[in-house]
């Protein structure tokens, strides 16, 4: 989530300057390519379920349909999100958003059988998994997909989610990236533990030889306070070496983890200036870790609303936003801040006249962004002022102030122009799209935006390779 207001019309911000080499930490590249992924969150307010055209969000057919659609659109990757506890509002299951999602690796393993090219990326948690177990499942997905697996490395720091796991909320906030770093290093060691020629393949292997060459498979041991294991990998390296690592954290710890280990960052910095600053910061960190600028791809999350004319696109964007911020959702949004039941208030009426509770917000329940964990009273005071000044109803206020995904709104041509600028100036390497309506919002991109990008020489016209690492044009592993 970004704190950018979605109603901003981005098309007025197209920057044609080419003098950004220094500011992004990479030279202008007139041949730069747009890499696209789709982040299938499976939950959240951005997914519209009330429209009759919305596909069922938990049916396997929907996932197959989307993955195959994206493969037709020559996308790099299909991402699945993860949340290890059903989201809540004030202690009750949050009932207004799409909910209920599959285990990501299980789902992607199924999709591997009905797709051929597209990368399959699982968001998986380093806090509530066993490293050897998760590394093995990811490597298995990588083999089954013949080198198309990715892992979006995330951490969780709250005990609320931990209540679903053996260890509970055992990891303090500051140490979650420390564990994540060790977790990833242990996983990488397991993925590299089979020598390339470990498995016999000579003509005599079956009669006289051994299945694996003696000493060709190393046992990995790790013994620290945060990660303890002794394991032997049961699978060799895949066609792409190992799963591609994605990292999404935007904190200092998250950025360091990305600079050390990630192949792709799923960044939140989508506004152009922020994207430039982020790219520069990240590339500086990369250099400190001895890595080249091209060893990491930056794919910020983005929403897209396309129309055949500018006006149509703007209309559609308003409709999307209205659907996303329904009356009940607006009330529920305020309830989190007020800390009390506001269901008696009219979403189209004025703000609640009662005072909120004293307690700060608990952002751990999955419905609120983390930067709002403090300063509640001050925030509510500002909202009251804003509502009074502009005579806003509850719903109108929420439309103004609720953090939402940055949305690219326009015709396929204007959005393509903007994206080409983003990638050629090296602010980003592409986008990880969060769809609002499945499947039609994605079909729009595949059918209208992709051809525009291709016309500009900024998008592949066929898959060049077969692995996710090849799609992302990342250097060979090892």
């Amino acid at each position: 989530m970004t704190d950018t207001n979605a109603n901003t019309d981005l098309n007025t911000h197209v920057n044609t300057s080419t003098d950004v080499t220094a500011s992004t930490g990479a030279p202008y590249d007139p041949h730069a390519q747009v890499h696209l992924g789709v982040f299938f969150t499976g939950v959240g307010p951005q997914l519209i379920w009330s429209d009759p055209s919305a596909a069922p969000h938990t049916e396997i057919e929907t996932f197959v349909q989307v993955a195959q659609l994206l493969e037709r659109g020559l996308f790099d990757a299909f991402f699945l999100g993860e949340g290890l506890r059903v989201r809540e509002n004030r202690g009750r299951v949050y009932d207004l958003d799409v909910a209920g999602r599959p285990d990501a690796i299980t789902q992607l393993s199924a999709l591997a059988a009905v797709t051929e090219k597209i990368g399959l990326v699982a968001t998986q948690n380093t806090t509530y998994n066993y490293p050897a177990d998760l590394a093995r499942r990811l490597a298995s997905l990588d083999l089954l997909s013949e080198g198309r697996a990715g892992w979006n490395v995330v951490t969780t720091d709250n005990a609320w989610t931990g209540e679903n796991f053996r260890h509970g909320g055992w990891l303090e906030h500051e140490r979650r990236y420390e564990r994540a770093g060790q977790f990833v290093e242990a996983a990488k060691a397991l993925w590299a533990s089979w020598a390339p020629d470990a498995v016999a393949d000579g003509p005599d292997a079956a009669t006289t030889g051994t299945w694996a060459r003696a000493g060709a498979i190393d046992t990995v041991e790790w013994d620290t306070e945060l990660v303890r294991l002794r394991a032997t990998a049961t699978v060799p390296a895949s066609r792409q070496g190992r799963p591609v690592l994605f990292q999404a954290g935007d904190s200092d710890g998250g950025r360091e983890l990305a600079a050390r280990h990630a192949d792709v960052v799923f960044s939140a910095n989508i506004a152009y200036e922020k994207a430039v600053a982020y790219a520069a910061d990240l590339r500086a960190r990369l250099a400190r870790h001895g890595r080249t600028a091209d060893s990491l791809r930056i794919l910020p999350g983005a929403a897209v609303v396309l129309g055949s004319t500018e006006a149509e696109a703007q209309d559609k964007a308003r409709w999307v936003r209205d659907e996303q911020v329904s009356g009940p959702r607006a009330i529920a949004f305020l309830e989190q801040y007020w800390g009390t039941d506001l269901s008696a208030y009219d979403p189209d009426g004025p703000l609640p006249d009662i005072e909120p509770t004293d307690s700060e917000l608990d952002p751990s329940r999955g419905t609120i962004s983390i930067e709002h964990r403090t300063g509640k009273a001050e925030r509510i005071r500002k909202w009251r002022e804003l509502a009074e000044e502009r005579d806003l109803s509850i719903r109108e206020l929420v439309l103004e102030v609720q953090p939402s995904q940055r949305t690219f709104v326009g015709t396929p041509s204007t959005v393509a122009d903007e994206w080409v600028h983003y990638v050629r100036t090296r602010a980003v390497d592409g986008f990880n799209i969060t769809p609002h309506l499945i499947p039609s919002s994605l079909a729009d991109i595949v059918d209208t935006l992709v051809p525009e990008l291709q016309d500009r020489g900024a998008y592949r016209t066929e898959y060049q390779g077969s692995t996710l690492r090849e799609h992302l044009d990342l250097p060979k592993e090892g």
Binding site: V93, T106, A132, L141, E163, W211
Partner: protein
């Protein structure tokens, strides 16, 4: 106290394990009249007899008093009379055991001549039977009394016969006979009258496969000796490879007769039902009693292995004791169950780690008609590990390999001579879930090395991707090396049992945590979910807690089908208990115990090495020359497919299904597909699952009600009151 058959069997089973005194004759006893491949040993006959008695006792236990006076197909005999006869037959053993041979130099009779001249149902025999039948005190109490009498007499008789030297000569009424041949006559009685009783009681005719084969061979030999006189319409009879009898009628093409039908035909009870061996068609034709008219084909009728009228539940069923069909599961891990299987897979060693290999073996199993495939797994490479005996874990096999051959290695240090690679089972099952449409998919997931919440989510997701075909083979890896992968330590046996039961309970609760109708998509109120239909589970286990609800909606089956090895002692918690025991008696006893404890289904575990281009024994020898296949405690069949079929037919009397572990998938699976499954289908014992049905449908398991939905209903009622 009267021993139950189960305890009697258990006792026998134990007795069989005790070292026997060496027999004077080094050669196994040979039945001189046996003319076909695979001559039986005395032990075979004793095993078959004990099993047949067990089946008869099972049948009798289920009889209601109403069946007591039912007529039988033996003119003038009621069920009670026939049972009296069966008791007399068993008690006859006590008398024979104490009758010395005549010693007058007259020739010793063999089993074929036992009935010579005596007449099957002489007035003397009938009188004895009626006298036993009317020995009970009051009419209503008679049947249980007689059933108990038979149990005692039969188990004692079986034990007496087994304890003797097969060559011992006993004094018969007309002439002397060896103990072994006399035992054959008891088996013939038990099988034939067991079928009679089943028929009279309107139950499926059941017999233990090897017993059927023995008795079929007996009647075939009898037919030959008597020139066809004793067997209608059969001048010449041979025993086919699959155990059926082939009748070479002078004016008919060779016809294959299902063995049970043949036994009934040979004793004048039925007209044989047949099929031509060349067509291979499972459809049987019944020879018409009328002479064939020129130009008219024999009338086609249903085979009558079971004789229930069409339309009844028994008719639709496939002969399982529980009426739910007989289910076939196949273990498809790696190149096969034998550690050296990879050397005979006909492909490069690393090919097993490709998606194509996973897809191929599952597609073959689905095409063959298996109800379920299982994917064995463990946290360690398949060729390393340590004993997990107390856990009954799925990694026992690897454990044994390790301890047998790699004792000089550092534990967990990696590759032995055999396969070190294995794709995680849950991902393999998921991968094939969208390219199959009827076979059940059961990965092994270990409770000790996976987070319970993840495990439940993964299985629920598999059920969604497969449209209700997911199952879980509960694993409980507990070796030091296995636990080291998660930084843990092995549990004590008690702690492991508790933890395993806890994880199963957590998974089951989480699968219920979303009610089926939790997603409401109510546009008017903006509510996607009904919060009253999504529940925390608040599980408090021995060592951990789980809050819930699951992040995934309720699986299409309601509850994923759960399977567990008998050693895990989860009989009441799972849907299918997998019984691993080296002999059918042990399997029968453990199956009964599992059922008594509440297990809905029981499958037997069978490892198979079948005759292919190379005889099974030679194949096994070649495999063993490369690597030793340690005993796993499972029944192991090494031999022709036909004998496996017989074994399965026999086991169908005591279990609801089997899980087969082919030694080499590339070799054994085609034989299973071409020979065993069609033979079972022809015997109406097996039916391929239908597309787009859930695994629960296929297995005849009901879709469980949701515990929270049930609770909500109760609350609503309480509120209303």
């Amino acid at each position: 106290m009267t021993p139950t058959p189960a305890t009697a069997l258990r006792r026998q089973s134990r007795a069989r394990k005790a070292p026997r005194p060496p027999r004077p004759a080094p050669e196994p006893y040979r039945f001189p009249w046996w003319r076909w491949p695979g001559p039986p040993t005395f032990d075979d006959v004793c095993d078959a007899l004990a099993f047949q008695y067990f089946l008869l006792d099972e049948l009798l236990r289920s009889v209601r008093s109403a069946g007591w006076r039912a007529p039988t197909r033996l003119a003038g005999w009621r069920v009670a009379d026939l049972l009296g006869h069966a008791i007399t037959n068993a008690e006859h053993v006590f008398r024979m055991a104490h009758t010395p041979p005549s010693g007058d130099g007259s020739p010793i009779q063999d089993a074929l001549d036992w009935y010579q001249g005596s007449g099957l149902f002489s007035s003397l025999i009938a009188e004895q039977a009626r006298s036993v039948a009317s020995s009970g005190s009051r009419a209503r109490a008679r049947l249980p009394e007689l059933a108990g009498l038979h149990e005692v007499a039969a188990s004692t008789a079986a034990a007496i016969l087994r304890s003797g030297d097969p060559g011992l000569v006993l004094g018969g009424a007309a002439s002397d006979i060896t103990l072994a041949d006399y035992t054959v006559t008891r088996l013939v009685e038990a099988v034939v009258h067991g079928l009679d009783l089943a028929d009279a009681l309107d139950r499926p005719g059941r017999a233990y496969g090897p017993a059927v084969r023995l008795v079929s061979g007996y009647f075939a030999a009898l037919g030959e000796r008597r020139g066809g006189g004793a067997i209608p319409r059969a001048a010449q009879i041979t025993l086919a490879a699959d155990g059926a009898l082939v009748a070479l009628h002078p004016r008919q093409p060779a016809s294959v007769v299902p063995a049970i039908s043949w036994i009934e035909a040979a004793t004048g009870r039925r007209t044989p039902c047949c099929r031509t061996p060349t067509s291979g068609s499972p459809t049987c034709c019944r020879w018409s009693r009328e002479p064939r008219r020129a130009g008219k084909e024999p009338r086609l009728e249903a085979c009558f292995v079971t004789h229930h009228p069409p339309g009844t539940a028994e008719h639709a069923g496939t002969g399982s004791p529980r009426g739910g069909g007989f289910h076939l599961a196949l273990e498809v891990d790696g190149d096969g169950a034998h550690p050296a299987a990879w050397r005979h897979s006909g492909r490069p060693p690393g090919a097993v780690l490709t998606p194509a290999a996973v897809r191929k073996v599952v597609a073959e199993a689905e095409r063959a008609g298996f109800a379920l495939v299982t994917f064995d797994d463990g946290p360690l490479p398949p060729n390393v590990g340590r004993p997990d005996r107390e856990a009954g874990s799925q990694t026992d096999r690897e454990a044994d390999r390790q301890t047998d051959r790699q004792t000089d290695r550092e534990p967990g240090s990696g590759a032995g001579p055999d396969a070190a690679g294995r794709i995680e089972a849950g991902t393999r099952a998921a991968y094939v879930s969208v390219v199959t449409d009827r076979v059940g998919l059961a990965p092994t997931l270990h409770v000790t090395t996976t987070e319970p919440f993840h495990l439940a989510t993964q299985l629920a997701s598999l059920d969604h991707t497969s449209k209700g075909r997911a199952a879980w083979v509960v694993g409980a890896a507990n070796s030091e090396d296995a636990l080291a992968t998660v930084g843990g330590l092995p549990r004590t046996a008690d702690a492991l049992r508790r933890e395993t039961a806890d994880v199963v309970a957590v998974a089951r609760a989480l699968w219920d945590s979303w009610q089926d109708d939790a997603v409401i998509k109510d546009v008017a109120t903006g509510r996607y979910l009904d919060v009253d239909r999504v529940h925390p589970i608040d599980f408090q286990g021995g060592d951990f807690t789980v809050k819930g609800p699951l992040i995934t909606p309720r699986p299409p089956q309601g509850q994923v089908v759960v399977l567990a090895a008998d050693a895990l002692e989860l009989d009441a918690e799972v849907d299918v208990v997998l019984v691993g025991h080296p002999d059918p008696f042990g399997i029968a006893a453990r199956a009964k115990a599992a059922r008594d404890a509440g297990a809905p289904l029981v499958f037997a575990e069978i490892e198979v090495v079948l005759d292919a281009d190379v005889p099974a024994e030679d194949r096994l020898a070649a495999l063993e020359a490369a690597s030793h296949w340690p005993e796993t405690g499972r029944l192991r069949h090494v031999g022709p497919a036909a004998e496996l079929t017989e074994l399965l037919i026999g086991l169908a009397e005591v279990v609801d299904g089997v899980r087969l572990h082919p030694a080499v998938l590339a070799v054994d699976l085609p034989v299973l597909t071409a020979e065993v499954l069609p033979a079972l289908a022809a015997a109406r014992l097996h039916r391929a699952p239908e597309p787009d049905r859930t695994l629960r449908d296929t297995l005849g398991l009901a879709r469980p009600a949701n515990r929270f939905a049930a609770a909500a209903t109760t609350d609503a009622v309480r509120t209303a009151i």
